[in-house]
Symmetry: none
Subunit: 411 residues, 2 copies
């Protein structure tokens, strides 16, 4: 029987380098994870450079690559992808930004770049989207909340560029910068001017907003300004359906991953309690994947917690989270006519608390795969598997071939 | 001692995916094949994407790639290669087509797309080549028989395009289509018009031909029309001699492989009883290779039967054919100063009865190779070999280096 469907389980940042606190082994090597190991034993394994050897991936570029969209062609900055993930429908040519709500003090300096880790900012974002008026510049805008203090801005209009700076000084105790064009082009100048006008108008709206008045009364920091970064011009993405003939969905807490899924035409499948942290609702995400694969050809399922533990440098927490993931995975192993792919978007070594270019382990499990001799799901074991060392850009072609959806090249 | 010569043994479609009828193993894994395994044990092994990971190869594109001719540059459709294989000398710019002799009924519909599996069509093909006159269109034509009901057409003239449809409706009980241009270019229009004129004139000649009159008397289906497909414009191929400094020959039953060999300057070495099926004259082909390598530097030896069994979905027949091949191979292992390459052009899983993109096993056997730890010639065993996972385009450079025919890059 040849599989017809694919679940791509991206264990975000799961792989690592040897950790001193784990006796020179990686969290994957020390974790007790019988289901992950069973999948490796039954599947075909390898290691994967999600972009290329020695290329240190972002989460955005790596996910694009894993989905078969060459980031050299498709990646135009994180802003448009975050905006899509926040629910703004990005059309080709729109300029997108990642935003933070932040707190300005009386003297105009930044007191907190995350506005006291505010959440539930919908009312503020709606007020900004409705209240800020850039029509004198012939620009329309969209503004939407993301998770916590995060949000996104999108601009639509003629003659807008994306080559502009951020107003975020990346430190507290200083005044926000003006947004500057990074070229002498009128398009970039226009965008920079629009950003500065947007920020000024947004501050007026935020200053007077009841949510902030209440926060001040409650002794909380008000969200009285917006920091913009990651400017990019939205490109044209051929959809998964057009490109591969596959319907699909994306299950992820991270707005960035949701946004990437949505721009390639995957439907966002929200799961309550999915937080992107080690405390996320793993059962809910896996149940949703199993439910949704019934009526879709492809599910991108991103589990983020291990990456977060890695960014905190906490190898023990990472190991424990891997063990927790494992306890929920069994139902995924029982799906018929479905390939299950275990992989990651990048290595996040606890020792450097950031992404690295080390390849990630990958397993393809399901009908028709050439089971190899690998018995464990970890960085070293998978490196001796039958897939050898592949690139992220090869993953979708290999999967499409296994579900018999490739076109023959030649005759 | 460094080898001076190369025999490339392409075991067409030999590799597979796990087969249920073989207990989840592949035909290569279950076949008793002491000589193939000995070659793997003594040689250096690997797996190979003949074109690239996840790219499902045709036989034409994969053979071009194995011979070091990038199909993205050199592949212009199957027609010109089949024509060359049928004995037509294709010059750059000529338009080639694969053809079938077929049978039209009284009402003009196709009764049999293979004319009762006619063979010995030489007299018909000569009559067509001599009788059809396209000189009013300033076009010369060549027409030649292939194996069985197959044939090839080539057109030579100014202003001819190759972007035209087939007249083959691919089913019986319907009338053949007209050949249409696939663009508005006058070149494609001219070719389409020439094809339609060719078909009409050929039908007149075939209707009155003594071979067909005799077939009708004998109750056989007459070959009274020709179906054309696979149009392509012949490109320029640098010869093996020019490119690598090697003289060589091709031994194959499939006209396509013969054609590919010939366009790169390999001499066709005919072997009586070579059929391309599991009943082929294996001893004759291997004897011919051993004889010819005496006075050539390179022999391409294609054995097709396993691919045919795979297209029939017959894993047991495939396994038995592998065992039969093995019994004839010993003389190839005893050649001195010769590299023997075991490989395949593509995987043909019995489960899907068509080519797939799974990599194929490859072994290089002979003087100077770094013998690795692999003991068996099969998909999984070779995957742990010293060559790792290579591309078809790397095979000739690696072989040329082993016979000391590469140029140093740099100093």
């Amino acid at each position: 029987m040849t599989a017809r469907k694919i679940i791509m389980l991206v264990l975000d940042g799961i792989s690592d380098r040897p950790c001193a606190i784990l006796g020179g082994r990686t969290p994957l090597q020390v974790a007790k994870k019988p289901i992950l190991d069973k999948l490796a034993e039954e599947g075909i394994c390898g290691i994967m450079d999600t972009i290329g050897p020695g290329v240190r991936p972002g989460s955005d570029t790596s996910h694009l690559s894993l989905l078969g969209y060459d980031p050299q062609v498709y990646y135009t900055g994180r802003g448009p992808l975050e905006a899509e993930g926040c629910g703004i429908h990005m059309e080709s040519g729109m300029i997108g930004f990642r935003c933070n709500y932040a707190t300005l003090g009386q003297n105009g300096t930044i007191i907190d770049r995350r506005a006291g880790r505010i959440h539930d900012t919908q009312a503020l974002s709606m007020a900004i989207e409705e209240g800020v008026d850039l029509s004198p510049m012939n620009i329309e805008l969209k503004f939407a909340s993301g998770v916590g203090h995060r949000a996104a801005l999108a601009l639509r209009g003629k003659g807008l560029g994306a080559n502009v700076t951020s107003n975020d000084p990346k430190e507290e105790g200083v005044v926000p910068q003006l947004v500057h064009p990074l070229s002498s082009k009128t398009t970039d100048k226009k965008t920079a001017a629009a950003c500065n006008e947007f920020i000024q108008q947004a501050q007026h709206i935020l200053n007077d907003h009841p949510v902030n008045e209440r926060r001040v009364r409650e002794g909380l920091l008000p969200a009285n300004t917006v920091l913009l970064r990651g400017a990019g011009e939205m490109g044209h993405f051929e959809s998964f359906q057009e490109r591969y003939g596959l319907t699909g969905g994306v299950i992820a807490a991270a707005t960035l991953v949701v946004g990437i899924g949505k721009v390639v035409g995957l439907r966002h499948i929200p799961v309550s309690g999915a937080t992107g942290s080690v405390a996320t609702n793993l059962k809910g995400k896996i149940d949703a994947a199993i439910h949704e694969i019934e009526r879709n050809d492809f599910i991108l399922l991103n589990i983020k917690g291990a990456d977060e533990a890695s960014h905190d440098g906490n190898a023990v927490e990472k190991k424990e989270f891997i063990e927790r993931i494992d306890t929920f995975l069994n139902p995924l192993t029982e799906l018929e006519d479905c390939l299950l792919v275990l992989c990651s978007d990048h290595t996040t070594p606890c020792s450097i608390k950031d992404h690295s270019a080390d390849p990630v382990p990958v397993v393809i499990h399901g009908p028709d795969v050439r089971t190899d001799f690998v018995l464990k799901f970890d960085e070293n074991s998978c490196a001796s598997g039958g897939l050898h060392r592949i690139r992220g850009s090869s993953l979708m072609p290999i999967l499409l071939d296994l579900i018999n959806k490739t076109h023959k090249y030649g005759a």
